[in-house]
Structures are given as C-alpha cells and as structure tokens.
C-alpha cells in the first residue's frame, strides 16, 4: 500500500464482502433448499434458513434417486462422473505427454505436420461437430460405455502445448547426461522428464478433472441407458421430470453433490489450480 487511507480500505473490504455475498448467495439458497422437505419447498416464500431434512434428503438421493432419473440413485451417477472425469484427465495427460515428448525431442519426417494436426483440435469444440462425432461413436459401438464418454474427449491441444512448453525449459544437459549414462529415450522420459514436470502434471490434472467432471452435452448425447448417466447431466432430467412441479429439494441436493467434488479440488489445490489455469490458457 502506498498511502494510508482508512476510509478507502474500508470501502475495499466492503466491496469484497458484498461481492462474495452476491457470488455465494446462489449456493446458500441451494444448501437451504436441500435441507427442507417437499411440503415446505412448495410454500412461498421459500426458506432462507436451513431446515432439518438434510440427511433424509441425502439418504433418499443416494439410495433412491429423484424423479426423472429412472430410479437410478445419485451415488451411481457420482461414480459414473468420477470414472469419466478420471479417464479424461489421465488420458489427456498420458497421450499429450507422449506426443509432446516426440515433437520436442525427436527429429522425424512430418514432425510439424503432426504438431499442426494436434493444434487444429484446439479450434473444434465438441459443440460444433456434434452430429458427425456422434455418428462415429455410434458406428464404433461406443454408446453407453465409459470409453464412449471419455475417449472422444481426450485429444488435447492445450495439454500438448503445456507439455511442450515445460519440456522446452528443461536444460539440454539433462539429455546429454542421460545419454552418457546410457539411458534410452523411454528411460529418459520416465526417469527424468516426467519427474521434472511433476507440478505441471498436477496442475493440468486439476484443470482437466474439472473439465471432465463438468461435461454436459457429450454425456447427454451418448448415454441412453439410465445406469450410465452422469450426475451433471441428471440435473436437466430432474428439472424436466414429466408433468410434475420440479422436486426442488432433490434437484438442489443433487446440484450440491455434483458441485462438491470439483469445488473441493479447486479450493484444496488452489495453488495448482491457479497455475494450471494460467499456464494452459496461454
């Protein structure tokens, strides 16, 4: 701080607190809604203070599920989401590290061709090519499977770029030293390159886990079997449960369960998250 202006400091704190309250208000409403029973949730005005039905709602969600999800418990969907998010995050890291290694450390014909080909994927979000991609996945018989949920999403230009940047900062002497000690390329990759990019891998994992967990359109298209639903897409099904008024306490309980894992990841691994965010986007 350059000078002492108590009044301005007070205003800064006030703005921050107001900002946080506005940002957190939807979450508070969600939490409160998940602690009341169905009857209370249809009376205006809705409560702004928690009730006593949190654990009842939690039990019902985890074991029976809500309207609109075909009786599949949320527990099962959380598992599906977890498997999908992990497969996407790990898959992206593995294939990107390998291809960045090849592009940075090997001289071979079509090297730049491959690089540009991977780069193009950056420009094609799933949303703009959904119809043909869906057709490909259907032809390969990958509908309603974990493979179908994750494999089409694991090619990653961002991750390849990040690994390329990281590898470029590793001094040339490392490779020379490894060669003198008689290590082959794969040995060099596993014993030197990967350990040296540990933090970058962790940061990338945080970002990609959130990316995978929050997928919506893709799971919506390729899962028709209730037992393969992910928790994020189930929210939509619940909102549209037939002719009935949405069962808000269950929807909000599910929303809460669906946002806890990624939010926990962000908050507990804040440093890695910020690093991942700033490094993958540039």
């Amino acid at each position: 701080m350059v000078e002492n202006r108590p009044w301005l400091t007070f205003i800064s704190h006030l703005t921050m607190i107001l900002g946080i309250l506005v940002v957190a208000f939807p979450i508070w409403v969600t939490f409160v809604a998940s602690t009341h029973d169905t009857v209370r949730m249809t009376q205006v005005p809705l409560p702004l203070w928690p009730g006593h039905h949190f654990f009842d709602n939690l039990r019902q969600a985890m074991t029976k599920g809500a309207y609109g999800t075909g009786g599949i418990p949320i527990g099962r969907m959380l598992l599906n989401s977890l498997v999908m998010a992990l497969m996407i995050a790990v898959g992206k890291i593995v294939i990107s590290a390998l291809s960045a290694f090849a592009i940075v450390y090997f001289r071979f014909p079509f090297r730049m061709g491959f690089f540009w080909m991977i780069f193009i994927t950056l420009m094609l979000p799933v949303e703009v090519r959904i119809v043909p991609t869906f057709a490909v996945v259907a032809d390969l018989g990958m509908l309603n499977s974990y493979w179908g949920l994750s494999i089409p999403l694991i090619a990653s230009a961002t991750a390849t770029f990040m690994f390329r940047q990281t590898f470029l900062t590793i001094p040339d002497e490392m490779l020379e030293a490894a060669r003198i000690d008689g290590a082959g390329p794969m040995r060099f990759f596993f014993d030197i390159l990967l350990p040296m990019s540990r933090t970058n891998i962790a940061a990338l994992f945080v970002i990609m886990f959130i990316y995978g967990w929050n997928q919506y359109l893709w799971p919506l298209l390729i899962t028709t079997d209730n037992s393969m639903y992910t928790v994020v897409m189930s929210i939509k099904q619940m909102i549209e449960a037939g002719m009935m008024q949405p069962q808000w306490e269950m929807i909000m309980m599910t929303s809460l369960l669906a946002m806890i894992p990624p939010v926990l990841v962000v908050v507990t691994m804040q440093k890695l998250f910020v690093k991942g965010l700033t490094e993958t986007e540039k």
Binding site: V104, L124, T160, L175, F273
Partner: protein, 294 residues
C-alpha cells in the same frame, strides 16, 4: 521448437504420437470433414438420398430471418456476458489488490464458482428466479415488480441466462486480473503517488492501461465461453425459448441437427461456427505474439 540435443529419426516418435493422432483423426478431423461435406448436401424429405447443392445451405441460412436474429442474439449475449463479468471481476480484483489483511481468504471465497458446471449454474439461477417459487421473484414482488416470468418474457429469459453465465465466469476473470495487477511493479505506483496522483487516478492512468493485454485476452476467452460453454445453461433453463428468444448459435446447431434432423443446415451452421472459432483463435494468437514483442 526442437531441442538442440535430440534423438535421430526412428519408429519410436511415430509410436509416441500415434495415440493422440489416431484420436484426433477419428474424433476430430473425420467428423469435421463430414460436417464440411454435409454442409454442401441437401437431403430429400425421407433422408434416403442426398445431392450436392454447392452453397445453397449457406445462402438459405443467410436468407433465414431466424438464423440472422440468432446471430445477432448471440453477439448481444456474448458481449453482455463478457462486459459484465470483466467489469465486476476488475472491480473486485482492484479491491482485493488493495487490501492486505484477508486478501487470500477473499480470493479463496471468490474462485470456486469456476468449478461449477454451466448446467448446474443454470439450475441454481432458474430456481432463484422461478416465476412462482423463486426467492428473488419473491423479493421482486415485495418491491412492486410483479411481472417477472422468464418463461413467457423473452427479454427476461435473456437476462436470466446472461446472469447465470456471468456469475460462473467472474472467478476466472478475477484470477487473471489479480495476477496481472500483482505483476505491475510497485515502483510505478509509488512514483505516481509521489507526484500526488490519487488512487482513482493511479488506477485509470497506470494500472488499467498496463492491464490492457489481460483485458483483451479475457475479452476473447469470455466471448468464446459465451459462444460455446453456455450451452448447458441455455439447454437447462430456457431451451432456447420463449419463442427462440435465447436460441444462440450453438443451441441452434444442436436443435436443428438433433431435434429437427435438418443435417444439411445444421452442418452448414457448424461450419460457420468453426470459422468463427478459428478467427477468434487467430486473433488471440496474433495478440500473444505482439505481447511477446513488448
């Protein structure tokens, strides 16, 4: 790009890039070229045969009022989301950068909406603004605004999805602005203070101009976000309605392709969207190059 010390050509590098390249070809390049091909075809009413129609699908699109208004709507939506979330984030970051005590707590409390899926953000805001039950609707009624019903009123629906999309994006912009402000040398600020420039003046003449690369970068990122990632919000909250008032381009691609089964038109729209993404990416990269030259 290539390391000065590197390995000679062999089979190994091909094996290393193989998984990435295979997935790229099967799930990206092949479908994208299919979309490109489809965009020039017209299917008959039964979907049994199709023939090549050159740019007919495109000219039909640009003659279609619905498509053109969806275009305009997308731009209004994207710019509102970008402008709103950037200005709120800039204000919060400026304040967070000022305070010494509690600054990291504030940061932690502000960043987590990033992790909330768009569709969940949509569900939350939809619940708060529910025409009969919503808590905000109740407050609005209390202050005398009784005509809130986003299910019937297109403008209100647009406001609702814009708010939900903005809410989710504030944390991202906040992080980048805060990092940008912390990178500004303290000596510049102090020199200005010695020249008796007040806090507001220091912000507008020093901090804000120095942040302009960050602001520009965030502008592009936010527009891309509003174009594509908000699909979940629209799909869950309004389904493009009422009366197409919130049908943005990416929702229209989905709706015409999967619900309307008009593959030719949907593919042509995909192609246009691809061109938009590619130009945005090019703009972003050119700008990054310029920043490096600084």
């Amino acid at each position: 790009m290539l390391k000065r010390v590197h390995y000679r050509p062999s089979v190994l590098p091909y094996l290393l890039v193989a998984p990435q390249v295979a997935i790229t070809i099967i799930f990206f390049i092949w479908p994208a070229s299919q979309a490109l091909h489809q965009a020039f075809l017209l299917e008959d009413a039964f979907g049994t045969s199709s023939h090549f129609v050159w740019f007919d699908n495109f000219t039909a699109l640009f003659a279609d009022d619905q498509y053109l208004s969806s275009f305009g709507r997308t731009f209004v939506f994207s710019f509102s989301v970008a402008a709103l979330s950037i200005s709120i984030a800039l204000l919060l970051a400026a304040m967070a950068n000022r305070v010494i005590r509690g600054s990291s707590t504030y940061k932690t409390l502000l960043i987590w909406p990033y992790a909330v899926a768009p569709v969940i953000a949509g569900a939350l805001w939809m619940f708060m603004f529910d025409p009969t039950l919503g808590i905000v609707t109740y407050f609005l009624n209390m202050i005398g605004y009784t005509s809130w019903n986003y299910r019937l009123n297109g403008t209100q629906a647009m406001v609702l999805v814009t708010l939900a999309a903005t809410w989710k994006q504030i944390s991202y912009n906040f992080l980048f602005f805060l990092a940008g402000m912390q990178a500004i040398p303290k000596s510049l600020i102090e020199a200005a203070a010695i020249d008796s420039a007040g806090p507001a003046r220091r912000f507008w003449t020093i901090v804000f101009p120095l942040l302009s690369p960050t602001t520009f970068f965030l502008m592009v990122i936010n527009i891309v976000y509003a174009f594509f990632d908000t699909f979940g919000i629209i799909h869950a909250v309004t389904k493009g309605g009422p009366a197409n008032a919130t049908t943005i381009l990416v929702y229209k691609v989905f709706n015409d392709g999967f619900v309307g089964m008009d593959l030719g038109s949907s593919s042509a729209q995909s192609v246009i969207l691809m061109i938009i993404v590619i130009s945005l990416t090019v703009i972003q990269f050119r700008f990054i190059e310029r920043k490096v030259a600084y």
